[in-house]
């Protein structure tokens, strides 16, 4: 209607850009769901007042679980009664985020029945996020999700839902089976995933190669990043094919190698790699994937301590185990996770991530307590000194 006052003039502006708008999707949901309609109204109010109208209002959950549901309440329930309770449910995603269309439809059908119909695919931790339901619908929703084969993910001070890249399912660079590791870890640590009992959250992200497509080095308390311990495989015929196709091997690959480990003979059109010097940056392999492949002896480098700013500033994770074989049933990895989380649980303060605990108490104490052998690769940042060279009391 031309003279009818627009209900959401500020939100409407967000639909005018070049990209798909979340407003359009909320409006679609609002057409058939009162909670989504209330969300739209409250969001318009927030834009108008430049103020957030959500608050934490208590602990909500489902029977037997301490995590997986995030309570959210409106602070203007009298204006938007349908958004008075707007809880989030985190659904543990399948490893690598592979779903059948049938599974997705099932998930959405359940959510339309019990919630607003709005979803996030996916949250930072990787879960399928279901946005907006009431306290009294949580248990029934969870029961139906469980019936359909879904489980809740982590929230609060527990093991957050482990996530991984697509790994060998869709990527030739995978140095180990990320999907299997992710699934195994999820099953092994069910107790830690559903019962918040640690000082704070603990995230595990598993990347199949140093490209680190899940950004574990920046986001995970324990980053498991694929690597190899033998040599980069070179197919000299394919190198020649790249050269014949006019690809600038010298400029695009050789000159850009951070360790100057790649040599190219323009006459013979062959590449030689000094694998001793290679730092696994993946640049040459990414540039010439048909000619260069990761090594055959795959495994993972384990890094510890990444996080966003909480108590201290943002941390990138740093190497703690330079190479670990990744073979089922992954006993070494599971034992390692238990060792470090036990230490953190004993020594960490409330709301202190493991990286911060190590930072506060010192790497020597962490290594000595956990029995992890110090190695030169344990550096805080590239080209930085190792944490320490000796224990002070051992210096004569």
């Amino acid at each position: 209607m031309a003279n009818e006052e627009k209900k959401t003039p500020l939100l409407d502006q967000l639909e005018e850009g070049r990209w798909p708008s979340f407003v359009k999707e909320i409006k679609k949901a609002a057409a058939k769901n009162k909670k989504a309609e209330a969300l739209l109204g409250q969001l318009e109010l927030s834009y108008r007042e430049k103020k957030v109208h959500w608050k934490h209002g208590g602990i909500v959950g489902v029977k037997g679980y301490g995590g997986g549901v995030i309570g959210r309440y409106s602070d203007v329930p009298e204006q938007f009664p349908d958004a008075a309770e707007f809880h989030t449910i985190r659904v543990n995603q399948p490893a690598g985020w592979f779903y059948t269309t049938e599974a997705l439809r099932k998930l959405c059908d359940i959510w339309e029945k019990y919630g607003s119909g709005l979803t996030n695919f996916h949250g930072s931790t990787g879960d399928a996020i279901l946005l907006g339901t009431d306290t009294d619908k949580l248990q029934a929703c969870f029961d139906e999700l469980a019936e359909a084969g879904f489980d809740l993910g982590g929230s609060g001070s527990d093991l957050r839902t482990p996530s991984c890249c697509v790994g060998p399912a869709r990527c030739e660079f995978a140095c180990f089976d990320t999907l299997d590791v992710c699934h195994e870890i999820t099953m092994e640590f069910q107790n830690e995933l559903h019962r918040p009992m640690w000082p704070y959250k603990f995230k595990i992200k598993i990347a199949g190669c140093p490209n680190d497509c899940v950004a574990s080095i920046a986001r995970a308390d324990l980053s498991v990043i694929g690597t190899w311990r033998d040599e980069i495989r070179v197919n000299q015929e394919e190198v020649k094919a790249y050269a014949e196709a006019g690809f600038d091997i010298q400029g695009m690959v050789v000159d850009k190698c951070p360790k100057k480990a790649v040599k190219y003979n323009a006459e013979t059109r062959e590449i030689v790699i000094d694998n001793e010097s290679c730092t696994r940056c993946m640049h040459c392999i990414n540039e010439m994937p048909r000619a260069l492949r990761v090594g055959k002896e795959g495994g993972a480098t384990l890094l510890i301590g990444a996080k966003a700013p909480i108590v201290k500033s943002a941390f990138m994770s740093w190497v703690i185990i330079p190479f670990m074989e990744m073979k089922p049933p992954y006993t070494e990895l599971k034992d390692f996770i238990r060792t470090i989380t036990d230490w953190w649980d004993e020594n960490g303060k409330t709301r202190e991530r493991i990286g911060e605990t190590i930072y506060r108490l010192g790497m020597p104490k962490f290594l000595r307590d956990t029995g992890i052998k110090p190695v030169p690769q344990m550096v805080t940042a590239p080209r930085a000194n190792p944490y320490y060279f000796w224990y002070p009391e051992e210096v004569k």
């Binding site: 959950g61 679980y65 301490g66 001070s157 107790n191 009992m197 238990r338 036990d342 649980d345």
Partner: protein, 61 residues
């Protein structure tokens, strides 16, 4: 394990609720051992979990 489980039950009789870490400190054992024992006690339906920002255990009434 059975001995530790009994000690945990005895300790929980003296408090309203407790965290695994507190139980471990009170009994002078590692938290890992308490975690395992608590998991078994939960399966045996002898204790229940309370989630109040973090996980507590208490005797099942």
């Amino acid at each position: 394990m059975e001995e530790l489980k009994q000690k945990i039950i005895d300790y929980l009789k003296t408090v309203d609720k407790a965290k695994n870490k507190e139980v471990a400190q009170a009994l002078g054992v590692s938290k890992g051992e308490v975690d395992k024992a608590v998991t078994e006690l939960a399966k045996e339906d002898k204790i229940e979990f309370l989630y109040l920002g973090t996980s507590y255990i208490k005797l099942k009434t």
